[in-house]
């Protein structure tokens, strides 16, 4: 092939070039031996020539290589003379060169085949060689010492790989070069997949490089350390293999990949981004679940006191009758309330079991750790996404980008493709119209008016729903004061139901409103998300405020119960004490002991109930809104007076914004509630798992692709930002309750303490040496903490400022680059 020949020429040039700069080796004189050694060297040459031959063309036979090698050598000599190089002692170098050749080739190949034309590559390569030559003497000096030592061994090593034992003396430079060469080849192997070559060529190059490495790697040990070197090489290989297997394993472990790809191909990346988000969420929840399950629930079940031994672990007498009814369990009271699922079940014993497991401490740390972990993950993901997005702020390529990047390569469904084609055409037309800068003027007032109107309507809806919730919450408080037993199901569940209904219908309303605005769907999605976010936020905070009221009520109730309790105890003792002062305490069945209202469990229950009802609403919406509608449209279309499929009801589209926000708010609920209901992450994992399957099924079977298919570009970080915000909002109440409300006196792991976090100082006192506690108390002194916070704020400010300057510098450089390229 002519390309190869040209390459060869370039190569020969390079070798010529090389001659000038390589210093002659002192103790290796080739001049006389050259002819006699030729025959012997042939084998060595073949070895390398072979390796090289494979890079060129697989079909080259061994014999051919041999002769070709000789021919080339002759060629080279002739050329050298032609070029008029002043080297008279050329033979010596040529001798060396034979060994260098493979090295050169491997170096040569890279620049040559990087997609540029050969000449240029050659020049570049030559330049590289020059610099290399300059570097070489340093390396040589370094390696000289050990090279001398290992020379013999090396010979043995290399000759043993060949059948005929040839007497090839190997010099230091050669070794160094060989080593370099092997490294080079290894690098080549590692980066081979990045080369824009035909697969065949890649395979050939790979094979050649692997052979080369295999052959010469063994020869590269360091004197006595050869065995070690071989061992190291082997271990590296093993390690690589392990890594590869692990990688294979990891990809096999990613769940639902196929489902998501399928959806992606049908609905484009925007719908798929929801499912990917859902999967990510599932992963996070798995870890949260693992934490609470492994460190809180399981130890309590295995090592804590069993059910029925303590009042807090027993269903009270009054409830015993209904404790196992389904309705009660569904409401998460009765038996479920007095189980590991909720805060109240845990005992305040400092250590449990033979492991001396610090239960309260573990409970507290898991609660804090859950939140800390969530923060870490969300922020890390955001940072990574932000990195990936880097620098796309240049809008000067509007048309080019539209032209080259607008196709969503995920689409594999004809209908979606049709929509995509239509949307691309529209976007081009829009751009053209914008370019011509006409016609836009007449519409702009109308559009503006409509947008203002839409925002006004959306605000009205938000205000209305806010008032509705406020009203309902007040009403329910009234009901609660009067006692719930007098009221039916609706009154009891009014708040939840109203919230769910609002969550169901308001997004649809917003959707209708946003159709007034006539935004690009990507921007429309943002608006939609923002509005629903406000709605949900209102709902959530009303809920929390109602909950706080309830907590205060319970706290007051607790005081009364505490007082009654002392009376009750006194009465108990009064009956029996006269007999014997040292008599064992009276045995009372734990179910009969009066107990406080345990507000923590109540909070946990509320969150669990909310999660469940939320899940139920989502599922019912899917079944009615998507499935039944699709069935109706599909089958009544045969006997209807207008076209149902394209007319009024039609099939539903997948509601991305609503679903994403539902997911985010659900997660917020989990973060808030999981401290008081350790079982909540488990329930959530179950919910996410089922909803993955249900929604995948629903979207594939009853939804149609969006009319304007758009790419979900970068909205992922938008989701993340919302998630972070919600995380922050949901940690606020949780932290507030932990820090400033006293725990119940007779339930939960912190009972008997004035504040929950006292468990930390207790542990410090009892489990650590006294100096540690002292250090800690000094460290937690406000005098130290305040400056520390100040320092942190300052450092954040500093980093922020530097990053800003970097950004500016970056922009500046970009501009410079642009201006350099322009002429």
């Amino acid at each position: 092939m002519c390309v190869y020949e040209r390459e060869l020429l370039v190569l020969i040039h390079n070798i010529n070039f090389l001659f000038l700069s390589v210093p002659p080796t002192p103790h290796h004189d080739c001049e006389d031996e050259e002819e006699s050694e030729k025959e012997k060297k042939v084998t060595a040459k073949t070895r390398r020539g072979n390796a090289r031959g494979r890079a060129r063309k697989d079909s080259e036979e061994e014999e051919e290589t041999r002769t070709a090698g000789q021919r080339r050598q002759r060629n080279r000599r002739a050329q050298r003379k032609q070029a008029g190089n002043e080297d008279s002692d050329s033979d010596e170098e040529s001798c060396k060169n034979k060994k260098n050749r493979a090295n050169q080739i491997s170096k040569q190949q890279e620049p040559n085949e990087d997609g540029e034309d050969d000449n240029k590559g050659g020049r570049k390569g030559r330049g590289k060689n020059e610099t290399k030559q300059e570097k070489k003497p340093d390396e040589k000096g370094k390696k000289e010492k050990d090279n001398k030592k290992k020379k013999d061994k090396k010979k043995k090593g290399s000759s043993s790989s060949d059948s005929d034992s040839e007497e090839e003396p190997i010099t230091e430079e050669e070794l160094a070069k060989l080593k370099e060469e092997v490294e080079e080849k290894k690098k080549l192997i590692a980066t081979l997949r990045n080369k824009p070559w035909q697969m065949k060529k890649k395979l050939d190059v790979l094979k050649e490089a692997q052979l080369f490495v295999e052959k010469f790697e063994g020869a590269l040990g360091k004197g006595k350390g050869k065995k070690f070197y071989a061992y190291k090489v082997m271990m590296t290989k093993k390690w690589m293999k392990f890594q590869r297997d692990f990688e294979n394993f990891k990809t096999a472990c990613i769940p639902w990949e196929m489902k998501i790809k399928e959806i992606e191909s049908h609905f484009g990346s925007s719908v798929a981004s929801y499912f990917i988000f859902l999967r990510w969420m599932y992963g996070i929840n798995m870890i949260l679940f693992g934490l609470t399950f492994g460190l809180v629930m399981v130890p309590e079940v295995l090592m804590g006191k069993p059910y029925g031994t303590l009042p807090r672990k027993t269903v009270p007498r009054a409830e015993e009758r209904t404790a196992m009814n389904f309705a009660t369990l569904w409401d998460f009271s009765g038996l479920a309330q007095y189980s590991v699922l909720f805060y109240g079940y845990y005992n305040n014993q400092r250590t449990i079991g033979w492991l001396k497991f610090r239960m309260p401490l573990s409970y507290f740390l898991v609660g804090v750790g859950t939140i800390a972990y969530s923060y870490m993950v969300v922020i890390r993901t955001m940072a990574r996404n932000a990195n990936e997005e880097g620098g796309g702020d240049d809008t000067s390529f509007n048309f080019s980008w539209k032209m080259f990047t607008s196709w969503d390569y995920l689409i594999g469904n004809p209908e979606t493709a049709d929509n995509k084609f239509a949307s691309i055409t529209t976007s081009f037309k829009e751009a053209i119209v914008e370019e011509q800068e006409n016609r836009k003027e007449e519409n702009i007032h109308l559009t503006r008016f409509l947008r203002v109107l839409a925002n006004f309507l959306a605000l009205c809806t938000l205000a209305g729903s806010g008032y509705l919730i406020y009203f309902v919450v007040r009403r329910s408080q009234k009901f609660a004061l009067e006692g719930l037993d007098n009221y039916g199901w609706w009154e009891r569940n009014e708040v939840n139901m109203v919230m769910s209904l609002l969550g169901m219908f308001c997004p649809t309303l917003f959707d209708v409103i946003s159709s007034l605005e006539n935004y690009h769907p990507r921007i429309a999605l943002r608006w939609q998300l923002g509005r629903i976010f406000a709605l949900f936020l209102g709902n959530l905070y009303t809920f929390i405020i109602a909950l706080m009221d309830e907590i205060n009520l319970k706290l007051e109730e607790e005081k009364i119960v505490k007082y009654n309790m002392t009376i009750w105890e006194a009465s108990l003792y009064n009956g029996t004490i006269p007999e014997n002062a040292t008599a064992p305490p009276i045995q009372v069945d734990p179910a009969d002991v009066p107990r406080g209202p345990c507000w923590e469990t109540m909070v946990g229950q509320e969150f669990v109930r909310l999660t469940i009802s939320d899940t139920m609403t989502t599922y019912i919406t899917i079944i009615i809104g998507d499935f039944l509608r699709a069935v109706f449209v599909r089958f009544f279309n045969y006997c209807w007076c207008w076209d149902l499929e394209y007319g009024f009801p039609s099939y539903s589209e997948f509601d991305i914004s609503g679903n994403v926000l539902g997911l985010i708010f659900n997660q917020g609920m989990i973060w808030m509630g999981s401290f008081y209901a350790p079982g909540l992450p488990a329930i959530n994992v179950f919910r996410l798992h089922t909803s993955m399957y249900l929604q995948c099924w629903a979207v594939m079977c009853c939804n149609v692709p969006h009319e304007r298919v758009f790419k979900a570009s970068r909205s992922n970080n938008f989701y993340m930002a919302m998630l972070l915000f919600i995380l922050f909002l949901s940690t606020l109440p949780a932290v507030y309750t932990i820090v400033s409300i006293p725990p119940s006196f007779d339930c939960g792991p912190f009972s008997g303490k004035t504040r929950m976090f006292e468990v930390i100082s207790e542990t410090l006192e009892n489990d650590f040496p006294s100096w540690f506690g002292k250090v800690f108390s000094y460290a937690s002194n406000p005098g130290l903490i305040l400056p520390f916070i100040l320092l942190m704020v300052l450092s954040i400010y500093y980093l922020n400022a530097t990053s800003k300057t970097y950004k500016e510098a970056n922009l500046d450089l970009k501009k410079k680059l642009q201006s350099v390229r322009m002429p």
Partner: protein, 209 residues
Amino acid sequence: MGNKQTIFTDEQLDAYQDCTFFTRKEILRLHGRYQEMAPNIVPMDYTKDPDVKLPIQLIINMPELKENPFKERIVEAFSEDGDGNLSFNDFVDMFSVLSEMAPRELKAIYAFKIYDFNTDNFICKSDLEKTLNKLTREELTAEEITLVCEKVIEEADMDGDGKLAFADFENMISKAPDFLRYKNCLKNYQMFFFYMFCCSWKDDGLAKC
């Protein structure tokens, strides 16, 4: 075991893994997919590296490529002979380049090839027109097309020769906010491919390896 042995040797699989961004399973799936397209031409046994090529018609009729406006160009850009006939090596190569892990630079090279319809190493006006027609299914008028093409060249052509060289193209596309995503899509697309259509077919074989 038997299944694994008969398709590729371990060395072949390792070599493919070195040359592509795929895992072993994916390569086997790709082979399954390739074989499935023409079961009577493509042998199951690839240990001896048979010289088999599938014509472009078969490849572009794969359900996933079918909707792609540039399907012919994609296939042609990766075929060894330039006519769109893909050997298995080319086939693997194609999806490797399109994969998520492939670096931007590599993707830009091939994207350029795809958009370079007349293979003259420049994206000239006629290429742009073809691209545009394919993207919009020829729904734009002639003036509109000319306008858009002119705008594109005006935006992206740095050296002012009226056509886009690779450097221009790379410069332009590397700044696109959606470029990464767009390339990701390619990957997902191809992943989808294995999973959708190869799973049932190959799973018992794959389970063993």
